[in-house]
């Protein structure tokens, strides 16, 4: 009985121990679970902080790239502006080149001959083809009568152009003052031709000495107004055409005189033979 009681007591004790073991195991499992959870949390936290660092890195990189992009965009705009500037400068240079070519050709042609009528023909060609005038006349000062006499015309007969006293009317004033006249209404000549009222009148000057004028009455239909090169051409005509006309006139006169003297000398040489 006593033995039985001892056995039961031992079993009880064992059971107690087993229960404690069970509880301890449960606690261990619980602790283990907690630790697993904590590890998972820590892993997640590490992961998150790594992601955050990466995000920050990416954000920094994006910021830098954006900065770079903005600076490139700014540079691109600058280059674009520079390009536009170069393009407009190129057009200006091209235009200037063309204008210079026109002026070169005009002056080259004007000084290409010493024949008076040829020079007048070239002056007409320049006014028609380079300036775009349809009706105009060239008048030269007759030193004997002190009046402007028409020597050449286009789109009108030479006889239609007026003989004008120096200082008289628009044309006479241009010859007297030596200053060009440009009408505000360039289409004015299209209605009816008034030989005393040109739309443009240019003095032909050798330094300050006026030798004649170019009187323009009508422009070609397609010519709507004057450009910079037209004014340059007018200036060129005012100076170079005057010199060319004057020197060719002198040359033609001297040629004529030379021929007369030569004929006279020939005649004198021939006489003694008879």
């Amino acid at each position: 009985m006593e033995k039985e009681t001892g056995f039961v007591g031992k079993a009880e004790e064992f059971l107690q121990m087993f229960k404690k073991g069970e509880e301890f195991t449960k606690e261990l499992l619980k602790e283990n679970e907690k630790l697993r959870y904590r590890i998972a949390q820590m892993e997640e936290s590490i992961q998150r902080s790594a992601d955050e660092a990466r995000i920050k890195l990416y954000e920094n990189r994006i910021g830098l790239l954006e900065e770079e992009l903005n600076s490139l965009k700014k540079r691109f705009r600058q280059v674009e502006e520079e390009n536009k500037d170069f393009a407009s400068k190129y057009i200006e240079v091209e235009e200037e080149n063309n204008n210079l070519a026109n002026l070169y050709v005009a002056s080259y042609q004007l000084h290409s001959t010493l024949d008076f009528s040829e020079v007048l023909r070239i002056v007409l060609e320049i006014i028609i083809n380079l300036i775009g005038a349809e009706k105009f006349a060239v008048l030269l000062i007759d030193e004997k009568t002190n009046e402007l006499v028409p020597v050449s015309a286009e789109g009108m007969a030479v006889s239609e152009a007026p003989k004008v006293k120096i200082g008289q009317g628009r044309i006479g004033s241009v010859a007297k003052e030596g200053e060009s006249f440009f009408s505000d209404d360039l289409a004015a000549g299209a209605a009816e031709l008034n030989p005393l009222e040109p739309i443009v009148c240019i003095p032909l000057k050798i330094k300050e000495h006026v030798i004649g004028v170019i009187s323009i009455y009508k422009l070609l239909t397609q010519k709507e107004g004057f450009t910079n090169v037209d004014y340059e051409l007018f200036n060129l005509l005012a100076g170079h055409a005057a010199t060319a006309i004057f020197s060719s006139k002198l040359y033609t006169q001297s040629e004529r005189k030379l021929t007369t003297i030569q004929s006279f000398l020939d005649l004198l040489k021939e006489k003694p033979r008879k």
């Binding site: 070519a101 050709v105 060609e125 320049i126 028609i128 380079l130 239909t221 397609q222």
Partner: protein
């Protein structure tokens, strides 16, 4: 090397057009003083494009265009009329005869070069 025939009685205009044309790389200018002279130059060498004035002595530009278009050997050569005649009916008449383009004087060099390049590229 494109050969461009410039038919113009005015030496000033011939020189001015030639000056402009020479700015087209490798181009070569042949000058003629009127329509008859132009036909002679056409028969003596290859021409890729004709630039012709209308008002010229001996043979005018319109007569030249109609003769060029009537000749199988030259009919494909582009012709650009360069003239002081700026009226619309003159333009229409020139184009109806067979001119490819019509450029009124005073010429704008850039426009002339643009037209020449366009027709040389055809």
């Amino acid at each position: 090397m494109p050969n461009i025939l410039v038919v113009e009685d005015s030496p000033t205009m011939r020189q001015l057009i030639s000056f402009a044309i020479k700015r087209i790389p490798n181009s070569h200018v042949i000058e003629a003083t009127d329509g008859v002279d132009a036909l002679k130059k056409l028969s003596s060498g290859k021409v890729d494009l004709i630039l012709a004035d209308i008002n010229m002595p001996v043979m005018d530009g319109l007569k030249l265009v109609s003769l060029v278009r009537g000749n199988p050997a030259y009919k494909s050569i582009p012709v650009i009329i360069v003239t002081t005649e700026g009226a619309e009916e003159d333009r229409k008449r020139a184009l109806s005869i067979g001119a490819n383009a019509y450029l009124p004087k005073p010429i704008q060099t850039q426009e002339l070069i643009r037209l020449v390049n366009t027709y040389l590229a055809h």
